[in-house]
Symmetry: C2
Amino acid sequence: MHVSQDRAIAEAVGSRAKTTAEVFGPLHDEPLSIGMLMYPGLDQIDFTGPFEVLARISNATMHLIGTQKASFRDHMGLILTPEMVLAEAPELDVLLVPGGPGQEAMMKREPVLAFIRDHMESQKPLFSVCTGALICGAAGILKGRRVTTHWAAFDLLPYFGAIPVNERVVVDGNLISAAGVTAGIDGSLVVASLLRGENAAQRIQLELQYAPEPPFDAGVPETAPRDVLAAVTAQYQPLLEARLVTAREFSAGCIANETQS
Amino acid sequence: MHVSQDRAIAEAVGSRAKTTAEVFGPLHDEPLSIGMLMYPGLDQIDFTGPFEVLARISNATMHLIGTQKASFRDHMGLILTPEMVLAEAPELDVLLVPGGPGQEAMMKREPVLAFIRDHMESQKPLFSVCTGALICGAAGILKGRRVTTHWAAFDLLPYFGAIPVNERVVVDGNLISAAGVTAGIDGSLVVASLLRGENAAQRIQLELQYAPEPPFDAGVPETAPRDVLAAVTAQYQPLLEARLVTAREFSAGCIANETQS
């Protein structure tokens, strides 16, 4: 009787997404494996911002997981070096998926998408930064989820079945998403607090002297001067068009799996 | 008559530090060479934060200058790779000096200090982030200058003859300094605006969606909960003691030049 009740509960839990409280459970200091995906053409601070925060979590081991073994350049030319490839990654307690223009190619690489999908199925925390959300979308894990991304990609979220939420950091069950680029710093402090508590996150914030004072109020379309927004939007146009094509292809279910490596 | 007057003016200007307006001059879009110093044990976001901003400056070429040729790890283990060594660096319009625990060793490397000193003597913009200021101090370039650094190193500035200013970004002539770690993002937006104008800096800010929303108000000692400040200060103690010894040695004029490489 008890057993069948437990089984019924387990099956009910298994068939639905866990709540954030269920995902993170009570605070503890057990070892954590934190994985960070890395790929050519990412926007490096989507990755280095969260690394700065997450690497300071107590009793955590960072796993820098490349989609290729070799060093590569970020979108603006910085050389980054992974420590392992997808197949070598251990079981992860947290997975970060950063964004940047290189996300376009990753959206068509089935091994990358399968890796993200597998982690999501474990219902362990998955942390998307910037247009990392589009890769997660291509992996099919955003359906019915509340998600944010870079402001310039925000309107693409519905193509992946996501519910767009125009906030800097969005927490939905095991899925944490941050808006564009520098939002990954705020998002990773939220992740740190969910994993180890507010006090631990505040210690990291103090170490990083993270009391930002942007010299201008131009960080989002809502506050940027009109000519600034127009200039950046014009500069993004080719990338935005490419992303729209990919999103529509995905929505129509006709993404080709170009690479199996 | 005119010639001797001009010479007298030139000599007078030469013998004093230029004002910020003289350093940056009228806005232009001429090519810029931006150099970023890199060394083992730096705090990577002191470097990657400014890279994210400065690499987006129009008509600028980034020069990533290692104190060694090989890849190295940052303080928390991230692998970074320089593109050239000190001797290979071109003439620079801007030089960034990042901080992090590895700064201790750099304060005793004469070639690094000479490189910083030479750039400072050109009176071109020099941008110090976090405890990069201590390396600049060891190079002897902070005397009489208004400077900021990481909160935990702030009290060391007078050992180098600097005037400590408890602000997030301080501009004094050709010397721009940012406080700890993440302050480099704010500082580099200030540098971008000085180099290319406010509009250009705002475009970069919008690209990076830099409208920060720290989840806690613990980024500086003045606002951090008391137990958080106590914990971080205790954790820093060995590093703080080492830095104090070095600062006192410098102040007493007895820093040894341990390395000539």
